[in-house]
């Protein structure tokens, strides 16, 4: 039974990998979409089964090629990985039904099979990061997903898509290089790359300056990938100019996986008495606070809704950083919870924005005046997503902010509590700006003839919007999984 579970966990990575080149050579755009959709659904099912297996049977270990760890590559999956893998695969399975029309509108027909091939490769890389228990393997998957996403972003309709993909390429490569340098330094001191083995061997050498340097390189490399303020500069452009489907996908998954990786490094790999003696947690609190405040302020002044939401993403990453910085079970649990909830709300919001772009061709603030009355369903989803972003009780956003505040109160971190509240108020301002334009401004003459978005775009959008409400009211599942994952990560510190 154990063996079959391992095979299933491996297939989660292999299925998108093997299908990506097949999708690339398919002759028809719709066929490519259909195969990609099948792959995403299979992955979501596999990820669901995996989480179920782990909740009921404990961690899964799989030796690639039959080489025993720590020499071979080991896939080691516990509640933390399985939770993140399910977020990634689930959001992808919801994004792909949406993709059909949106991609046909935004991408030239002959490039569509390549688009889905890149999409699957990116999925393969992200799932790989969540599955693997080998730090060099993480680097490989990091690059697979990053290279694929550079390609995806550059397919955007505007010329700026190329420059923003290039900007992301430079920043992403610096991040990956830093990560690799750090891994090299750690390897030179311990002679191992396996997570569990590293955790065993690092305590003996953690006073060496090389290990400290390696730690700094790894943390900065991953911080670049997760767009932690002030290393977020690639993110707003990349999200704004990428094709909408890519924005939905990356916003809901890529940074989440990087947050997961950061948690693993801080709490699983490096020994606790080492991490606690570095200023890393204070740094996370300070950068988290700065990110929440500054990025939210930036968001208020954006005229493009996609860009506004991108800055809001940077602010939301600030909340997650804050949760990590609190370095308690409650804090990490709030981070994991926000990981999930943020994927739901940003997924819903970006999908709704995609529907505007589908009908309108742009999503600038001054073009959407009064659209709320002609596209009621689309903007109903915007309102639910927006409320969730603000953190109104009854939405998913409220749950994670609530737990984050509880975690901060537990340590009497009054400043953090205040910042979380101020951040929510700033979110009220920028969400309010969108809603004001949609409902309270006089409708533009040109907008009166616009029709509601097609059903194929609305269904996934509303699935996510309703999920925001469902997980805001029924917190048993998410809080339960997040708590057990946080206990796994932090168990040793307290």
């Amino acid at each position: 039974m154990m063996a079959i579970q391992g095979h299933l966990s491996l297939l989660l990575v292999v299925v998108p990998l093997i299908m990506a080149p097949i999708v690339a050579i398919l002759p028809r755009a719709r066929l490519a979409w259909f195969v990609a959709l099948l792959v995403a659904v299979v992955c979501a099912l596999l990820a669901g089964i995996q989480l179920w297996n782990i909740v009921n049977g404990g961690a899964i270990s799989y030796e690639l090629g039959g080489w025993a760890p720590p020499w071979g590559i080991e896939y080691r999956i516990d509640a933390v990985n399985a939770f993140v893998a399910l977020i990634v695969a689930g959001i992808t399975a919801l994004t792909l039904p949406y993709a059909l029309l949106s991609v046909e509108k935004e991408i030239p027909k002959q490039q569509i099979p390549f688009f889905y091939a890149l999409f699957l490769l990116c999925l393969c890389g992200l799932l790989g990061i969540t599955q693997t228990g080998d730090i060099f393997n993480v680097f490989v998957f990091l690059e697979i997903s990053a290279l694929a996403s550079y390609g995806l972003i550059s397919l955007g309709r505007h010329r700026q898509a190329l420059t923003s993909a290039y900007q992301y390429l430079i920043m992403g490569t610096i991040g990956a290089t830093f990560f690799l340098i750090g891994v090299g330094l750690i390897y030179s001191q311990t002679g191992t790359l396996n997570f569990a083995d590293l955790a065993e061997r690092l305590p003996a050498v953690f006073e060496h300056k090389t290990v400290h340097t390696g730690f700094a390189f790894i943390v900065i490399g991953v911080a670049l990938k997760l767009a932690l303020f002030p290393l977020h500069l690639w993110l707003p452009n990349a999200y704004t100019y990428a094709p909408t489907v890519v924005t939905i996908f990356l916003a809901a998954t890529a940074t989440k996986v990087a947050v997961y990786l950061m948690l693993r490094i801080l709490f699983t790999i490096f020994p606790d008495n080492f991490v606690v003696n570095t200023p890393i947690f204070d740094l996370f609190i300070i950068l988290g606070i700065a990110g929440i405040l500054i990025a939210s302020l930036y968001a208020i002044y954006q005229m493009d809704i996609k860009r506004l939401l991108a800055y809001s993403s940077v602010a939301q990453i600030g909340y997650m950083a804050l949760g990590i910085g609190l370095a308690s079970t409650a804090g990490v649990m709030a981070t994991l919870l926000h990981l999930f909830n943020h994927a739901l709300m940003k997924g819903a919001l970006f999908m709704a924005v995609g529907a505007i772009i589908y009908r309108l061709g742009s999503c600038r603030m001054d073009n959407i005046n009064g659209l709320g009355r002609v596209m009621p369903w689309t903007f109903g989803a915007v309102i639910i997503g927006g409320l969730s972003l603000v953190g109104i009780p009854g939405t998913a956003g409220f749950v994670s902010k609530w737990y984050l505040i509880l975690a901060a109160l537990e340590q009497q971190a009054w400043i953090s509590v205040a910042v979380i509240l101020v951040g929510s108020l700033l979110a009220v301002v920028y969400v309010g700006k969108i809603i004001e334009a949609l409902y309270f401004k006089a409708a533009l003459e040109a907008n009166k003839s616009i029709k509601e978005a097609p059903l194929l775009l609305l269904l996934p959008t509303w699935t996510l919007a309703l999920a925001n409400i469902y997980f805001g009211l029924n917190t048993e599942l998410t809080v339960g999984v997040a708590t057990s994952a946080a206990q796994l990560l932090i168990g040793t510190i307290e």
Binding site: L10, I18, P21, Y62, E63, G65, G66
Partner: protein
């Protein structure tokens, strides 16, 4: 075009040798230095040399771009497919031992197939990149 006579003659002599050498590097990779990546690059170098001397259009006639795309995809599928095959035969992913009668024979076959996949993809992707850049600005 008479002034190209020397490169034409020399490259006609060299290209078969380069291809032969790439096949040697490919299939001798499990005994000596070499392997799919190196072999793929050497193979594509032969075609690139041909394209430089005889022109892009002629080179694209030898290996049309759509065939290149097919081969590039095929290589990856071959590599990942070997892994799936070992899983179906009861081993772990990419556990070559189960592919043959004995452990050694299985390892041998597995590495040969996987490296062939690498070689196919590398050779064709190198050529795709070359044709993409060399073909810029053509009508």
């Amino acid at each position: 075009m008479t002034h190209n006579l020397i490169p034409r003659v020399v490259s006609k002599l060299l290209i078969p040798l380069i291809i032969l050498f790439s096949l040697y590097v490919q299939f001798h990779g499990d005994f000596g230095p070499g392997g799919g990546f190196q072999a793929g690059v050497i193979f594509s170098a032969a075609i690139i040399l041909y394209a430089l001397v005889f022109g892009l259009d002629v080179a694209e006639k030898i290996i049309p771009p759509y065939i290149l795309r097919l081969i590039a995809a095929l290589g990856v599928v071959l590599y990942a497919g070997v892994g799936l095959a070992t899983q179906l035969l009861g081993g772990r992913y990419l556990e070559y031992g189960v592919l043959g009668e004995t452990q050694v024979a299985g390892q041998h076959l597995g590495i040969l197939l996987v490296e062939l996949g690498v070689g196919l993809t590398v050779a064709s992707v190198m050529l795709i990149i070359f044709f993409a850049f060399a073909g810029r600005g053509r009508p």
